[in-house]
């Protein structure tokens, strides 16, 4: 009998439980620990995907809410602009261009030569534009004064185009052709 056989023989009361415990541990690892490790790794991947999906859903929701709120705010701002800044209708638009422009020109010592007005509406726009083309004569300083008065006036009048031509016979005199517009809301959509 070799010493090893003899040790095993004599210490089998200790060795057997140790061997059984080792076998149970190996079985535990194979049947429980390793499969659980794999399942947890898989669950972590699923959790990461679910978190990404939730984040994307939250971002889409925030975007939709921002769009809805932005639309409501823009709608409100547009109503304020149409009702409080722009003239109410053609009569209001005429009031702030017809007599008012002539008075401003006179105050700036510009001679009034001719004027034409037309109201027009783009197909896509809900605003009607009252466009007035004025031809005035005067000196450069008076032209500057008139333009300053017009751009600092309370009324919503837009200077769209300015043309200056020098009169041949009088070097100090200029012909000012001014295109000014104002706008009023006329539908068709209730923005």
């Amino acid at each position: 009998m070799t010493p090893l056989h003899r040790i095993v023989q004599e210490k089998r009361l200790f060795l057997l439980p140790l061997a059984v415990a080792l076998a149970v541990n190996a079985a535990l690892y194979t049947l429980a620990v390793y499969p659980l490790t794999v399942r947890v790794a898989s669950a972590e991947r699923r959790a990461a995907v679910a978190a990404e999906v939730l984040a994307a859903a939250e971002a889409a929701h925030a975007q939709a809410v921002a769009t809805r709120d932005g639309k409501a705010r823009a709608d409100s701002d547009l109503r304020t602009f149409y009702r409080e800044v722009l003239p109410d209708d053609l009569a209001g638009a005429r009031r702030i261009t017809y007599a008012r422009l002539a008075a401003l020109a006179e105050a700036a010592n510009l001679r009034y030569e001719r004027r034409s007005s037309v109201n027009e509406q783009d197909r896509e726009s809900s605003l009607v534009r009252l466009r007035t083309t004025m031809v005035l004569a005067g000196e450069y300083a008076d032209v500057r004064q008139f333009i300053y008065a017009l751009e600092t006036a309370e009324e919503f009048v837009v200077i769209e185009d300015v043309s200056l031509v020098q009169r041949d016979q009088d070097l100090s005199a200029l012909i000012l052709t001014l295109e000014v517009s104002t706008y009023y809301w006329a539908g068709p959509t209730d923005a």
Partner: protein, 196 residues
């Protein structure tokens, strides 16, 4: 009387065997504790992750249905119409805010004596203001000097003579167009436009 022949039982170090057995026992206990601990921890983690996944998936479903509800409130055609109207209103406000006095100040300080401006028209698209102007000059280099001087003010950029023709009286009529940055503040910034 001893019947065993002691000479046939070789000696071995029993203390060393005991020590080895104790060490193996300790290892077995440690491995067992480790396995049990890991099983408990992994089971808990697996349960937590499962709960987290179902909670996140439920929240995502809820969020998606809320998003659908919000999107149903938004009429795409109406949104486009409002967007167009806002762009139009902002362009008009931009034109209204446009300071012709500032523009004339810039032009006056840069216009050479033998160049005359005959027409100016601004155009506002979004936050970008472009200015087209027609000038008449005796010499092309005088018009070029005017372009350089305008850009040197910092209020203009990208000025280009888009069209040029000789007039019957021997002058040049040039249509200039470029981006107008507005009056320049002392720190070099141009003033922002206001809008809706």
């Amino acid at each position: 009387m001893l019947r065993t022949n002691l000479a046939t039982r070789p000696f071995y170090n029993e203390r060393a065997v005991h020590v080895a057995l104790v060490l193996v026992g300790v290892v077995v206990v440690a491995v067992t504790v480790s396995n049990v601990t890991r099983i408990v921890a992994l089971s808990g983690r697996h349960t937590d992750l499962g709960l987290q996944v179902s909670r996140d998936e439920g929240a995502a479903r809820e969020m998606s249905s809320q998003t659908d509800a919000v999107q149903q409130e938004i009429d795409g055609a109406e949104l486009q119409a409002i967007s167009d109207a806002v762009s139009e209103a902002n362009a008009l406000i931009g034109l209204r805010m446009f300071s012709w006095t500032e523009l004339f100040n810039r032009i006056e300080t840069t216009l050479p004596p033998d160049v005359m401006m005959t027409s100016v028209r601004p155009e506002v698209v979004g936050e970008r203001v472009s200015v087209s102007m027609v000038v008449v000059g005796r010499r092309v280099d005088a018009i070029d000097q005017f372009i350089e001087a305008l850009e040197a003010t910092g209020s203009f950029e990208g000025l280009l003579a888009r069209q040029e023709e000789a007039t019957v009286d021997g002058m040049y009529r040039t249509m200039l167009r470029g981006r107008y940055l507005g009056p320049v503040t002392p720190d070099g910034d141009s003033t922002p436009e206001e809008g809706l």
